[in-house]
Amino acid sequence: MSGSPHPSFSRDELMEVNAARALAGARTCFVGIGLPSTAANLARATVNRDLVLIYESGTIGSKPTRLPLSIGDGELAETADAVIPVPEMFNYWLQGGRIDVGFLGAAQVDRFANINTTVVDRGPGKPEGRLPGAGGAPEIASNCGKVLMVLRHSTRNFVQKLDFVTTIGHGSGPGDREKLGMPGAGPVAVITDLGILRPDPATAELVLTELHPGVTVEQVRAATGWELRSARTVGATEPPTVGELTALRALKSA
């Protein structure tokens, strides 16, 4: 596949391609449904052909030819190296520290990459808005070697304060994960449709480290619910290659 830049792509495609690139070099990935699954499957088609995809439905080493709608589509099991019971997945494989990267989405994320997927506050007098809930996220974020996150950038998603803490990223800053006894390194990158945020090594606060082509720092700050800081140098992500976009579009249309 060609490595030359592709002339035309969407913001979502920028997000998906960069999410896939973040999986270069990983051996195993615990894959959430939706954007993380798109990214992980695109990684297998581009930067990491040997990436072992692990789905919480119990499949190890799934090799789907099209994007699964659910985490339990038949093709995930049929193409897997092993299919195991769900309790074993969570106890021996996830808690057992066998998985390099956990790839999560989120409804709300705060500056320390903590996640809310439970309920949202809809204002005075209104009932809480209901989200799907935790799923595997609290233990994925705790036990995987590191965590990648992918979600669209808006002040609705990137909030000053979570309405509920479903899943700990970096807590309230450095040392919190250790205090909580969380074995993994936690979130190392949040890939959005505008750019990439990464925790500042000194403060664990998410800072803007890369912008996608055509996006400005001000656009990202305007889409973030807290006073987003930038890294000393803000890089630029490489535009998607023809190969990446062809693979992505093929996956989605299959």
Binding site: G58, L69, V86, T118, V165, T166, I168
Partner: protein
């Protein structure tokens, strides 16, 4: 010992008003036909347990049969919200829905403890999560060897577990394969077990990934081909992703939902698959 019975009779005898019922199946082998029989019989005031409530529980919740839900991820996988679940939680329609909410790891281990007939299970989980503050089935325990504090989750022992499997033999031994989720644990944790199957065969041939449940841990087996639709039975059917996508608009509106249940469930005879 499992008797081979009609779905109507098995549900009528095994599932009662007020029961805690687990209908498990992680995307695969979800026992829809049995849930629809519960709907037809109007068995109510149920506490339902399922890791992923899915459309099957959206239907039961929307029909007003459920007072409490034990779960860990309540969405329409790959599609979006479960609108009947949300409407019940947010607006108490058609009745209030009490929640006992967990992470997947925690709820899976609640079934493990249940199957092991232990009062609790231990995991390194829920750390820093607000979930533990909203339920009385998560606590902590200290390791007597290292002093480390770990999460403890209370055993979940349903009154009835209902699952769907590919095959049973004539003695009521059951085999399922493919993604088998937490079905073995949910079945062994329960007081009563009902299994619907695609097929009854003379002899169960051992399958790769096969989970066998002997007849003497089951109460009833009902032959219901297609009984997992719109989920699927590996080797027999494929997941009806179109139905899952269509459900979004069916369930979004109370009246549309109610008409759908009336048309597709109540006017159907027992065991007829909903297509």
């Amino acid at each position: 010992m499992a008797e081979i019975r009609s779905l109507h009779d098995a549900v009528a005898d095994l599932v009662h008003d007020g029961d805690t019922v687990a209908m498990e199946g992680f995307t695969h082998l979800i026992p829809y036909a049995a849930a629809h029989e519960v709907l037809r019989q109007g068995i109510t005031d149920l506490t339902l347990a399922r890791m992923t409530p899915d459309v099957i529980y959206d239907q039961l919740i929307g029909a007003g049969l459920v007072k409490k839900l034990i779960f860990s991820w309540g969405g329409n996988p790959g599609v979006g919200s479960l609108h009947r679940f949300r409407d019940a939680v947010e607006n108490d329609w058609p009745r209030p829905l009490e929640l006992d909410e967990h992470s997947h790891a925690g709820l899976a281990n609640r079934y493990v403890a249940g199957a092991s007939r232990l009062p609790f299970a231990v995991l390194r989980g829920y750390r820093g999560s607000g979930l533990a503050t909203r339920t009385n089935t998560v606590s902590t325990v200290s390791c007597p060897f290292t002093g480390e504090e770990l999460a403890a989750v209370a055993a979940l022992n349903p009154d009835v577990t209902v699952i769907h499997a590919q095959q049973a033999d004539r003695s009521g031994n059951v085999q399922l394969w493919g993604l088998t989720g937490v079905q073995k644990e949910a079945a062994l944790a329960a007081d009563r077990v009902l299994v619907t199957v695609e097929e009854i065969v003379d002899e169960l041939a051992p399958r790769p990934g096969g989970v066998v449940l002997p007849t003497w841990v089951l109460d009833a087996v009902a032959l219901v081909p297609g009984g997992a639709h719109p989920s699927y039975a590996s080797g027999y059917s494929v997941r009806d992703n179109d139905f899952y996508q269509a459900w979004d608009s069916i369930a979004r509106d109370r009246d549309t939902f109610t008409r759908w249940i009336e048309t597709h469930i109540h006017t159907h005879a027992e065991g007829t698959a909903v297509r």
